[in-house]
Symmetry: C2
Subunit: 477 residues, 2 copies
Amino acid sequence: MDAAEFRRRGKEMVDYVADYLENIEKRQVYPDVEPGYLRSLIPEEAPEEAESYEDVFKDIERVIMPGVTHWHSPYFYAYFPTANSFPAMLADMLCGAIGCIGFSWAASPACTELETVMLDWLGKMLKLPEDFLAGTEGRGGGVIQGTASEATLIALLAARSKIVKLIQADHPDRSETHIISKLVAYSSDQAHSSVERAGLIGGLRMKKIPTDNKFSVRGDALQKVLEEDRATGLIPFFFCATLGTTPSCAFDCVTELGPICNAEKIWMHIDAAYAGSAFICPEFRPLLNGIEFADSFNFNPHKWLLVNFDCSAMWVKNRSDIIGAFKMEPLYLKHDHQESGNHSHWQIPLGRRFRSLKIWFVFRMYGLKGLQAYIRKHVGLAKEFESLVRADQRFEISADVVLGLVCFRLKGSNELNETLLKRINNARKIHLVPCQLAGKFVLRFAVCARTTESRHVQEAWCHISHLASELLQELPH
Amino acid sequence: MDAAEFRRRGKEMVDYVADYLENIEKRQVYPDVEPGYLRSLIPEEAPEEAESYEDVFKDIERVIMPGVTHWHSPYFYAYFPTANSFPAMLADMLCGAIGCIGFSWAASPACTELETVMLDWLGKMLKLPEDFLAGTEGRGGGVIQGTASEATLIALLAARSKIVKLIQADHPDRSETHIISKLVAYSSDQAHSSVERAGLIGGLRMKKIPTDNKFSVRGDALQKVLEEDRATGLIPFFFCATLGTTPSCAFDCVTELGPICNAEKIWMHIDAAYAGSAFICPEFRPLLNGIEFADSFNFNPHKWLLVNFDCSAMWVKNRSDIIGAFKMEPLYLKHDHQESGNHSHWQIPLGRRFRSLKIWFVFRMYGLKGLQAYIRKHVGLAKEFESLVRADQRFEISADVVLGLVCFRLKGSNELNETLLKRINNARKIHLVPCQLAGKFVLRFAVCARTTESRHVQEAWCHISHLASELLQELPH
């Protein structure tokens, strides 16, 4: 395919994309296919000879679309949102064309520099403490990671490297292996599975701190475990606080936890993967209070800030903590401006796309006010759904509704709720996933799509309520 | 921006992208900017109000392009190539629109299934042993990672987990920490920095095996170190072989190394990040001989197989080795078809884009023959450059030219060659990076761009030769 054909096919694809997104609610949100459906629809091997673009294009509807879960349908309420906006898609087209691998400043100065400045823009939008910004002389700064999982892992590894150095400075005789065998990291018992996984990857002991009745870690709970662990000779070194947990969007109490971590020289990382986007609104910013005690902070603009995946924003107070843990510089990566920033030292992969273009396009095309309006609209829709649930005596709300997630269930057994969820998802009209809260099977209703409106939420509730009625009528009295 | 405006702006962007790539050789390959150039060109904060698309668009040329290193210019010969093709860009547009996060089968069945089948297609193109294919009943299979660094790390961690379980099965009293403290992994002294970094991340001892005069690890060199290490009580468990090293595209001798690893129960991972693409040509496939001894294999179609970054293909013989090392399944990720494939268990990030679309589009639009022709063209251009160097008595070739990389230098001191490289890069006509081979400072000429033709190579050589003449004339006799 030459540039001339790309001009034609690219424009057709732009129309296909626009058609897809404009009409997405006409598609069934969750597919009907069974596992293995796709293999029989296409050849067993790649073709020897080139095929025509027409043949490839028509297979999108024949092969791909029947197996797509439509995350951007206004009938999709599962997991948490993933962002999708037109400005981000335009920026991604440009990113693909430039196609640079930004592993050092020299590999494409614009790629490194725009990223640093965009993370400063975003940090200011969140009113992060000055320490986290790069500016022209700051010691902190931000970087784009692929996912929150990577950010947590990087923070954990940087903390590991820092504590080992700290202990070895006082006790040069203690081996790294021995120190690591004594280390212990903590997170909420509501923390995302990726936090525990980070511990597994780093070969580090990881403990879960029990949460209170709001599913939030409090200072005294951490303090208690710290004392027990110190008494047995363990070395606490890392705490991952969650702002907006995956099951119920609960918030660890970082204003209590932060001072403890600081006093005990424990690295506090804050994972606000979903909730972080909301902190650009003054009314939600208090949820981030305590950030001043943190060593690192992360959230995903690719979830709720209209920047397509992947774009996970991470800041640290001391760049040198992160860079020191991973820096490697073979000759083929050395260049004349070594100290001008090299985000590869901040992350697991060496290669990186020009992802800051998406942030730049989206922030400028929406403006701060447009982004705030978007967050508020989703929170409003969640509150609307909450009211509908609360007005129905058969149901209960299972956790405070703070942002765009509503956790709810039928009053009654877990089995009853499992059956209700199964019927909801089998009906294919809307799509939800469950969670477990204090031993209860709970349904999660997350406002996800950019195009979700009040009418969709009302319709979803009618549907749920109707299925619940059917289910309850079948039960023996 | 609504769908209607996206239709217009998207088509403009398609033209911009086509213009950029059609005329890329008119741009200076390496930018003139100094570190920090970008910050002063844009505001210090994100705008409050939305800006017009015209304003954003015109800043691409004002702010971004002056700081771009043009990786797809036919004057770019640095690092290794990164792929860029029109079919891949079309597929990426579709990927952005669907915007699913494929962390489980249910999260978008097409995303998981196409990936599995595409990795089978690609595995067949490489004539991988059947063990590495998923098929409908295989125990092996492939997955798309972001980068080779991630693939190496995943293989290392899976091997760690496997050896710990194996040892604990015989010695239930031995703690994981104790076992890990005895483990030792190996790679070539020519291996990419990311291999050493993987060891750092996993908290694992990593040793470099010395290479022979072809920069390749031989069986006896590994055997010697293994014996020494076993004698001191260490437990060898992992060897990362490189096919196509970054400095000189050297090949470890896996036909010798593989049987040793198998006999010693050492996980052999093969990293063929750059060279792997060439193995689709029958004449280069012998370079992969010995693959039958490997436990895992990885290369980057995003380097040399026309699939835009990121797309790093990894295969394992036993999926369960990888999955077992990382599996975590909270309730919100459970679904009815749990066993239907979940690539998130195979990688560091939980979220993943629909990257297999790019493979599907590219393989079909080029066909196997088209891809083979592309590889052969690049190898031919490298051979052409090699002949030019060899015909000039002032220069020497520093390593065998096997694929698309030529390592060369002026006969003489490292200082002389450093000066030559500085002059080449300062002239901004072409862009190269150096490497170190056996203590010598060497220039690397990697054929990179899709549009590089014989005339560009000839022109590059004339330029280098001219700068060398100038330099040599300045020297005292």
